[in-house]
Symmetry: C2
Subunit: 433 residues, 2 copies
Amino acid sequence: MSIKIGIIGFGTVGSGTVKILFENQALIKKRLGCPLVVKKIAVRDLSLPRRIAVPEGLLTTDVEAIIKDPEIKIVVELIGGIEPARTYILKALEAGKHVVTANKAVLAEHGRELFAAAAERGVDIAFEAAVGGGVPIIKTLKESLAGNRILSLVGIVNGTCNYILTRMTEEGLAFETVLKEAQEAGFAEADPSLDIEGWDAAHKLAILASLAYGTEVPLDRIYVEGIRDIEPLDLSFARELGFVTKLLAICRETGEGLEVRVHPALIREDHVLSSVRMAYNAFYIRGDAVGDILLYGLGAGQMPTGSAVVSDIVDLARNVLAGASGRVPPLSYQMAALSSQPLKPMEDVVCRYYFRFSAIDRPGVLSKIAGVLGEKGISIAAVIQKGREEKGSVPIVMLTHEAREAAVREALARIDHLDIVTAPTKILRIEEG
Amino acid sequence: MSIKIGIIGFGTVGSGTVKILFENQALIKKRLGCPLVVKKIAVRDLSLPRRIAVPEGLLTTDVEAIIKDPEIKIVVELIGGIEPARTYILKALEAGKHVVTANKAVLAEHGRELFAAAAERGVDIAFEAAVGGGVPIIKTLKESLAGNRILSLVGIVNGTCNYILTRMTEEGLAFETVLKEAQEAGFAEADPSLDIEGWDAAHKLAILASLAYGTEVPLDRIYVEGIRDIEPLDLSFARELGFVTKLLAICRETGEGLEVRVHPALIREDHVLSSVRMAYNAFYIRGDAVGDILLYGLGAGQMPTGSAVVSDIVDLARNVLAGASGRVPPLSYQMAALSSQPLKPMEDVVCRYYFRFSAIDRPGVLSKIAGVLGEKGISIAAVIQKGREEKGSVPIVMLTHEAREAAVREALARIDHLDIVTAPTKILRIEEG
């Protein structure tokens, strides 16, 4: 008795997955009770060099041969992107295969369709590797917190952004400098826009929010702001005020709908999320019963992501052996219980803010700015004004008490048009966690 | 269709469990697909006041009535201690019930017997709540790391000890002062010896090591040292050297057998475990594939522990609905694959050490002490000697490079007999994590 699997895609994650399945074969058998056998790996080009050696005949260019192989019970999709990944997954599900995927984009954009197809055919689809690499965030939301109402989830979900912000904060380097170094070292993609503009985080947040709240979260309803415009000066002021700056993915239940947003934010330096440095990811979850828990680890990379793929394969293999497919629904909620919950517009979000105004160094400036904030009902919690004049203007930094985003936007639109203000105001939200 | 459960024990954890099952009933049904119904709760005395109101007729003093009720599929044991808990669990398993327990003591001491009984009867036994409260450490080891060889696990697993050490470190308070306050506030037990002498941590470590390595770890083979003798002076020296002191439960695979030990230890202040303060627990796991991951949260308390119990109930209910009991073996390894791995004697453990010698303030003292260390092959990495003479002696603090425990013991036995040494040397191990 053995369970045969077919893998589509043999890049970074595919290689890691196969490496683990080969090297830890005996160990996995001790846990699962029977061997997991890789029967076929589909690649685009047989002639390319491979990161790890595989027995002759294992590689194929024929994806259909995997999907139609009656011996293969589990198909693992690791090519990424929307198409042809979506089509392959659908075909595999329709052919009665259980599917493991690491593909956050296809899940965020076509999750409903894929989950419905799996349910209809009575097979499983698992995706632990799609979010947080080897960190078991998906299983934790689906299973370990099954008794909890999730009050909020605050995640550091993009390793590239966290790496860049960590080095900018600790070494005072400029964004472009760190990005270039990260690209040269292979940590950041040649085209880093998905990461640094926040869309990778938004894909992951769409999946996490769906799991936590049993609701569909369309990508275009997520407020997304990246880290491209972050300046070392703001990271340094934030530290002076006792905060560390992170790109956060946040979902939170409120009386006025779900907040679902991705943006850089200040967190208090004694918060455990502040100690998440470099390429590490972390998920800070507040449940009504469990209180606050944190999961932390490497959110990307060949082996951590491969670890998550293998855990999914073992999970589905256990279902195959027990005849228990569909045991846990893909989004934790039963398909029939999925609902469409209202999302809170960004304008209605209430939080504390960090502002850095650039103003002419002249008496009365502070009072004018504070006056506009006061008119909009925004009250000030702290101010730093230091005479570091540069090109005829000085930075004035303020922390506010809680304020509504709409009021903040209105106030800043007015302030940025004052003749004493020399550049658009920098704004960062504060996350209390 | 519903799944009926019986609960034995209605103290702190029992109340939390029932509260969650009642308050989040609709939510749990959305996830599970059918209602979870509490049919009976066994208590010792019906006349006692209860923390939460339950419908009339739910409480009983008749445990047998729960165990023999053919409608009840899942029995939840929450009375703690060895007997009668062990007998109730065995009887429930023999009656074909799935069992959820939060009882680390009975698992650490009688786990083999209970798991064998469950396997024989083809039913499940789940125990997420036995370690780490609401933190999903058990499921992570059993399922999410199924593809990993676990290289090491370092845990802060006892909230009372971590609370005491945190306040001693941050406020410079004495052990007895904090313990007394914690007892008055209800954080620490009236008899705190299980916690502060490290045995609660050892129970948990026995379970975690079994899960990680598929081996039995008898309690009496675990090296255990508590925190009763920790002095604020050492915590303060440790901080000066860049370390934070925690009670750690450690298991680690080495070429010479498994290390399994509980003792206070210094960890570098920039290590993520250092940010685990007060009553929080954390588990730092290194896997060969996943790299380093951390799980963090409240390790005790009514609601966090109740959260773990409910997640186990949902898990077993999903097995009942899918007809999939035995899907995951209780220790993650198949029963037949459990082995008896050699444990490394404490004398052979190699690590770095912190020593605080108490010596007469006289020339040549340092050279005598260093001389003995040198003879035993122990090399010194750092020394602090400051003239804080007290009762005729000064503290001399040393950090060593890696040394073997046996050599350290021999050296200290000699040093403590030198006529220049006025009190037994304080020793703390350093965990590099």
